[in-house]
């Protein structure tokens, strides 16, 4: 007897997308395929969020991204649907980033690769130079912010998470979140003004 193939739809039809919540529920049941899909769907935004929190791409970013998804895998059953899955992953990232940045030695180790790439020549001056300088200044000022302010700013301003949801993710009152955002903006403005002063 040979197998009988009964195609129900075209082989190249697009996949039926499971929701993030469904994938996370499957992770809670130990399904590695679901974790793989969750990673593919969100690793980009988690890597970007982590890069912003760390002030650039470092080897430590990879570590944190891995740990975020491993934590999601282990703690999937704790997800209560009070925020989006993406927001929940941001919350895990913020907690892990705080822990990572406490250890200067690990930070030094993580910056190995970055330090190896410091031999750069003078960049050509072009019309874009002012814009690039501003971006560089914002990056430095952002990195100098206290962790809580940086998380609030990156989450809401860059990743565009709504304030109410961000407050829920971070476990703070909305008023606290708004205050952190305001403090972050105030400090960033001051930092830019100081750097612009000859």
């Amino acid at each position: 007897m040979s197998a009988r193939i009964i195609p129900l739809r075209a082989a190249d039809a697009g996949p039926i997308e499971l929701s993030d919540d469904a994938l996370l529920a499957a992770c809670g049941e130990g399904d590695a395929t679901a974790l793989s899909l969750l990673y593919r769907r969100h690793h980009g935004s988690i890597a970007r969020f982590t890069c912003r929190l760390f002030g650039g791409r470092t080897a430590e970013v990879d570590d944190v991204v891995q740990q975020v998804f491993l934590t999601a895998w282990k703690d999937a059953e704790r997800f209560r649907g009070q925020s989006s899955v993406r927001g929940w992953l941001f919350g895990i990232t913020a907690n892990l980033a705080r822990r990572h940045q406490r250890s200067e030695r690990r930070r030094d180790f993580a910056f190995w690769k970055l330090k190896l790439f410091t031999r750069t020549t003078t960049e050509p001056i072009d019309d874009d130079v002012v814009r690039r300088q501003l971006i560089g200044k914002v990056g430095v000022a952002l990195e100098a912010l206290p962790h809580d302010l940086r998380v609030a700013y990156v989450m809401c301003e860059i990743e565009e998470v709504a304030g109410i949801e961000a407050a829920r993710i971070l476990g703070v009152r909305p008023g606290t979140l708004w205050r952190r955002l305001h403090d972050a903006r105030k400090r960033l403005r001051v930092a830019l003004e100081e750097r612009s002063t000859p």
Binding site: T33, V65, F69, K74, W112, R185
Partner: protein, 354 residues
């Protein structure tokens, strides 16, 4: 005119409120609003990189499976199979149908589900958990991968065109075919059996030599020692030492791994980190040798562009601009913005007259 408090203005900006009427007549608020906009726009342009997603995913799944094996999760097989099938069905865009006939033999077993990819038909004979991905890579016209998490699948693969690949990947091995019918069994995350009905397949178990199977031949793994494989243990020891700042011990473990299992999947990482250590310690000659070894042994590695750039700088330092330029050109293909930028800078330096 009453201005909002600074905090209220900040919140209004976050919520996208329309304050245009007020801003038109208030210089202070307009300046603050303008700064908020400039800051936000600049912050969103800060450079970032997603890194090597494929390697990251593979490592994540490996770590997750280790986690699962450690017994930290409780689940029922029934639920697992049901969810696994749902995932496989939806994500792989496979089409499933059921039959109730009893199984007879490995090759004649009536399938409970079938699926088709561009180049293959998958007979999901025992509620296997699998997914299908199509990848693109330089020099590969079409690369199909079936990731098999658990169970048995039988496949009929059409003859592949030049440049096309078809593989079945498990947690600990890879099976590559060139147009054939065969069966793959995974038991508790380990490749347990490959049986070829027609054609040829290549089995590549991690940490062991590849095996080519012909029609009627089958492969089963050797008896596995308990605990971590020696190479994994060495890598972990090396990595732990590096994290603790003990570079000498770390390098010793990594060197031992490469010497012991030069073809092990972890040997690539070990070679990479040895080169990084040597370069960081300013052992230029060692670093040059180690980067060369990495590129020669793993030319298709995801780390190859980075290694090319690192070696390019070393060659440039000793005045070999021609070699450096060739290496930077390779590094410029990196998807990592930082590495590509360094390669570009290197190319500019090699083309400079002095």
């Amino acid at each position: 005119m009453t201005c909002p408090t600074p905090e209220a203005l900040s919140r209004a900006f976050s919520e996208g409120a329309d304050l245009s009427a007020h801003l038109a007549g208030c210089d202070a608020c307009r300046a603050a609003w303008s700064d908020y906009t400039r800051l936000r726009d600049a912050a969103r342009q800060l450079p970032w990189s997603a890194g090597d997603a494929v390697t990251g995913e593979a490592r994540l799944i490996e770590a997750a499976l280790v986690e699962r094996k450690a017994g930290r999760r409780a689940r029922t097989l029934q639920t697992r199979a049901a969810i696994g099938l749902a995932i496989a069905a939806s994500v792989a865009a496979f089409f499933l149908t059921s039959r109730s006939e009893p199984a007879t033999s490995a090759t004649e077993r009536a399938p409970v589900a079938t699926a088709a990819t561009k180049r293959a038909t998958v007979r999901d004979a025992q509620a296997a958990r699998f997914a299908h991905v199509t990848r693109t890579a330089p020099g590969v016209a079409h690369d199909e991968v079936i990731t098999l998490d658990e169970g048995t699948i039988a496949l009929d693969v059409a003859k592949l065109e030049v440049g096309e690949r078809f593989r079945v990947v498990t947690a600990d091995a890879e099976v590559e075919v060139r147009g054939t019918s065969f069966e793959v069994v995974v038991d508790h995350d380990h490749l347990a059996r490959v049986a070829v009905i027609s054609g040829r397949v290549v089995v590549r178990p991690r940490g062991a030599d590849e095996v080519v199977l012909g029609p009627g031949e089958s492969w089963t793994p050797p008896v596995r020692p308990t605990g971590l494989a020696s190479s994994e243990r060495l890598f972990q020891q090396g990595w732990d030492a590096l994290r603790a700042g003990d570079l000498a011990t770390g390098e010793t473990h990594l060197a031992a791994l490469v010497a012991q299992d030069p073809h092990d999947a972890l040997a690539e990482d070990a070679r990479y980190w040895r080169a990084v250590i040597a370069q960081r310690a300013h052992r230029t000659d060692d670093a040059r040798t180690l980067w060369r070894a990495l590129l020669a042994t793993h030319p298709g590695s995801a780390r190859a562009p980075e290694a090319s750039v690192m070696l390019g700088w070393l060659e440039l330092e000793r005045g070999d601009k021609e070699t450096a330029a060739r290496l930077f050109a390779k590094g410029a293909t990196s998807p990592d913005a930082e590495i590509a930028a360094s390669a570009k800078t290197g190319l500019e330096r090699t083309s400079a007259k002095n």
